[in-house]
């Protein structure tokens, strides 16, 4: 049975929907909510695209119980994640780490925005110059060439 990944816009703040069973729930509500938040960050290893918080798979349940055991043992959220990554590898993290091999992934949105902004600004500035400055000789020659090419073609619109 495949399930999809749960997504909430404000996942850290909204209560995530889950395949958590009633018997797994910790008595301490604060600790349980931490467990839920950690679960939403961990991938179910035998599922297609799903956090352990959403999965019905037995392995996901084992991981959920493991998360809760570590929390009960007094681990911080980061400790729990480290422990699970040490055991199952980085693949388990739904939020990729920020490291050399994911640099491109995390920086690409910023880089693309800046590059796009640069091109857009240049374009807008060019548009303004066009308005102010007269055409250079080279531009005039090009303009003539373009116009001639248009004249040569029958207007078919």
């Amino acid at each position: 049975m495949r399930w999809l990944i749960g997504f909430f816009l404000v996942v850290a703040l909204a209560l995530p929907a889950a395949a958590v069973q009633p018997d797994e729930v910790l008595p301490d509500a604060a600790m349980e909510s931490r467990a839920r938040q950690i679960s939403a960050e961990l991938r179910c290893l035998v599922c297609q695209n799903e956090s352990i918080d959403d999965s019905n798979a037995p392995l996901a349940r084992d991981l959920r119980l493991l998360v809760r055991d570590r929390l009960k043992a007094g681990d911080s959220d980061a400790d729990v994640l480290d422990f699970i990554v040490a055991r199952y590898g980085e693949f388990v993290l739904l939020r990729p780490v920020f490291a050399a091999h994911t640099l491109l992934l995390w920086l690409a949105p910023v880089a693309i925005f800046l590059l796009g902004a640069f091109v857009a600004l240049r374009f807008v500035r060019q548009g303004r110059r066009q308005e102010a400055a007269p055409l250079s000789d080279h531009e005039k020659a090009r303009l003539d060439a373009v116009l001639r090419r248009d004249d040569a073609k029958p207007d078919d619109t």
Binding site: G6, L9, V10, L105, F113
Partner: protein, 663 residues
């Protein structure tokens, strides 16, 4: 016999689309009107042949002809008729057939258009035919839905239970109308590149097609989201699943495209960029098809995964994307750039819109494909899940929505930032006041959600303000204002309505933060509560129907001890496929929903119940409908209406230009 007829019609369609590809192109190069005129009948013929083929496959499903392999694998004689019919496209072969049927439907519509310039029409249909040919070859060579089976089994293997839903009847056709509809914008763009000319006439001709595709894609994604919400059983409505991303990327790019086309039409600027966007948008649709059909990224949507098919689609992908981009690189520098451009103006705001939307689209693209690329290059396996998309996508969308009302208030050519801001001051004040009220009433509200509420209200109020300031000025009688508002061009209404819809979506999304969840084992007679509602479990009874066994839990919903009605939720087990599914129990109260998902029964006779109270959740989908309606209104603007005579366009032109100045 009918099945063979369908197969024959499929092959015939390939022949006809070859004609549609070669003759008009040759005609356009040679300036031969007779050859160019061949495009329309060929396009109509291809469509008719493919409809015949599709009807034949549908017939095989309706009568449960188990001598057809495709029917055996995806149908069952006991299935309700609607799922037999929708099952036609609930599988790889059938959905590819639907894909080309819709592709040629658009081709046929272009063929029927009487307003398009002759050359543009011929070249567009020729380019369109090349896409049809590639996909028909794909179907005939690797995914033939008409393959016979001998001996025929007595019963079929049933359809994937998750797909046995009304959603399958509606979601894929709508999605494909959008996805594939962008092929027309693509064909227009490539035709313009081949011809080396592009102008406002091109923009005016291409825009209705892009808008139509966009409206359908909006509806298709929205429908898919609601389907996943009630079918998957735990209340999520967007999953950042690779396949969802595959449909979302063309939507984002398409949204950028409909905005940049306006700039091109009105200001004769952004031509090269618009052409590139048209190519990119359809390329993303093709990439989406590849991702889903090749099974490179496995997901619930990948009905069948087969490396041979994947390779074939990859080749199609390389040919069309590579080919069109190469053509672009060669021809784009020859296109004349026009238009003087001031940064503070409507067109300047639309450039910002395009910048943010392109960044958003690229982010989703990178997030979706990065794990694949990294594993291919270094062997490292990582996952990119919802936390990544939330962290990157939201910071791009929030400024976009904030600037949206400002952008639509700015005038063309030379906007007055201060003036626009002044006109929006009331909208801003209203949004601020309303979010403060929400904060005061709910008290328990996360900051991000409150920001979302503010943005949503601002978008709504901004749209209202745009209509009001354009039709009313101080001291004017309301009747006059109403008359003037009705006289505003449809496209102005379309913009306002679509942007208001975005505001409504943002409100619905933000409201999820106030959702309440309760999880418990409930025995008959016991109650479970979430938010203001209490549910009492009355009974759990088995039921056998069609191709499944179900456990039906019946609840009574109470509010403050007063019953408000019954609610049913189911767990189904489909024996043929050995799959279990849940049917969420839903009760709509105002704009919110009570949502019940059933879990495992336990030994004590109880059943696991997941109860959610989701206030205002329906706003998410209502908002998408409003947004699509806005797109539809723009589509019926006189200036764009298909078949509108030249004169009518001239007449509406004057108020369009005069309106911003008057406001």
């Amino acid at each position: 016999m009918i099945v063979e007829l369908g197969h024959y019609a499929l092959t015939l369609a390939l022949g006809l689309s070859l004609v549609q590809w070669v003759l008009p192109f040759w005609g356009a190069r040679a300036g031969d009107s007779a050859l160019m005129a061949m495009a329309a009948p060929a396009a109509l013929g291809t469509f008719a042949a493919l409809m015949t083929s599709f009807a034949a496959l549908t017939w095989a499903y309706v009568v449960s002809d188990f001598s057809v392999l495709n029917v055996v694998e995806n149908s069952h004689s006991m299935k309700p008729m609607i799922y037999k019919i929708s099952g036609v496209w609930g599988n790889h072969e059938g959905s590819m057939l639907l894909w080309v049927v819709i592709l040629t439907l658009f081709g046929a519509l272009v063929a029927l258009s009487r307003t398009l310039p002759e050359r543009l029409k011929a070249l567009t249909l020729s380019v369109q035919a090349s896409v049809t040919i590639a996909f028909l070859l794909f179907i005939l060579l690797t995914s033939n839905p008409f393959t016979r089976l001998d001996p025929a089994p007595f019963e079929g293997r049933d359809l994937n239970p998750l797909l046995q839903d009304i959603g399958l009847a509606v979601h894929p056709p709508l999605l494909y109308l959008g996805y594939v509809g962008f092929s027309i914008s693509f064909a227009f763009a490539v035709a313009a590149l081949i011809d080396g000319r592009i102008d406002a006439v091109w923009a005016r001709a291409a825009r209705p097609w892009t808008l139509t595709a966009w409206v359908f894609l909006t509806l298709g994604i929205s429908m898919g989201s609601y389907w996943a919400y009630y079918e998957l059983g735990w209340g999520g409505w967007w999953f950042w699943d690779p396949v969802e991303n595959a449909s979302f990327m063309p939507w984002i790019a398409g949204t950028a495209l409909i905005h940049s086309t306006v700039v091109m039409e009105k200001r004769d600027a952004l031509k090269v960029w618009t052409i590139l966007l048209a190519i990119v948008t359809f390329s993303l649709s093709l990439i989406g098809t590849f991702l889903v059909r090749s099974g490179v990224l496995t997901s619930v949507h990948a009905f069948a995964t087969d490396p041979e098919r994947g390779t074939f689609i990859l080749l199609i992908l390389i040919f069309f994307i590579g080919g069109s981009l190469a053509l672009f690189a060669w021809r784009a520098p020859m296109l004349r750039q026009g238009g003087i451009f001031a940064p503070v103006s409507r067109e300047g705001a639309l450039v910002l819109n395009n910048l943010l939307l392109s960044t958003a689209c690229a982010t989703v693209f990178i997030g979706t494909l990065y794990p694949l690329a990294l594993e291919g290059l270094t062997g490292d396996k990582i996952s990119v899940g919802p936390p990544y998309f939330e962290a990157t996508f939201l910071p791009i969308m929030m400024p976009l929505i904030l600037f949206m009302p400002l952008g639509q208030t700015l005038a063309w050519k030379r906007g007055d930032l201060l003036g626009a801001a002044q006109r929006l001051i009331w909208a801003f004040a209203a949004a601020l006041a309303l979010s403060l009220v929400v904060a005061a009433v709910t008290r328990r509200g996360p900051v991000l959600a409150l920001v979302g509420v503010g943005l949503g209200f601002f978008a709504l109020a901004g749209s209202l303000s745009e209509i009001v300031t354009r039709s009313w000025s101080r001291g004017m009688p309301l009747a006059t204002a109403w008359r003037r508002a009705r006289g505003l061009p449809r496209s102005a209404w379309g913009t306002a309505v679509a942007h208001a819809g975005i505001g409504v979506i943002v409100l619905g999304v933000s409201a999820t933060a106030w959702g309440v969840e309760t999880l418990a084992v409930v025995r008959p007679g016991e109650t479970i509560a979430a938010g203001p509602y209490t549910l009492r479990l009355d009974s759990v009874t088995p039921r056998t129907q069609h191709t499944y066994r179900a456990e039906v839990a019946r609840f009574s919903v109470l509010r403050g001890g007063v019953p408000v009605g019954p609610l049913e939720a189911e767990r189904r087990f489909y024996a043929t496929r050995g799959m279990a599914t849940t049917e969420a129990g839903l009760m709509t109260r105002g704009l919110g929903q009570i949502y019940v998902g059933l879990g495992e029964p336990d030994a004590s006779g109880g059943i696991g119940v997941r109860l959610y109270w989701k206030p205002y959740v329906l706003l998410i989908w209502i908002g998408t409908l409003i947004t699509a309606l806005g797109g539809g209104l723009s589509l019926f603007d006189r200036r764009l209406r298909i078949g509108a005579p030249q004169k009518a366009r001239q007449r509406t032109k004057a108020p369009v230009a005069a309106a911003p100045a008057a406001s």
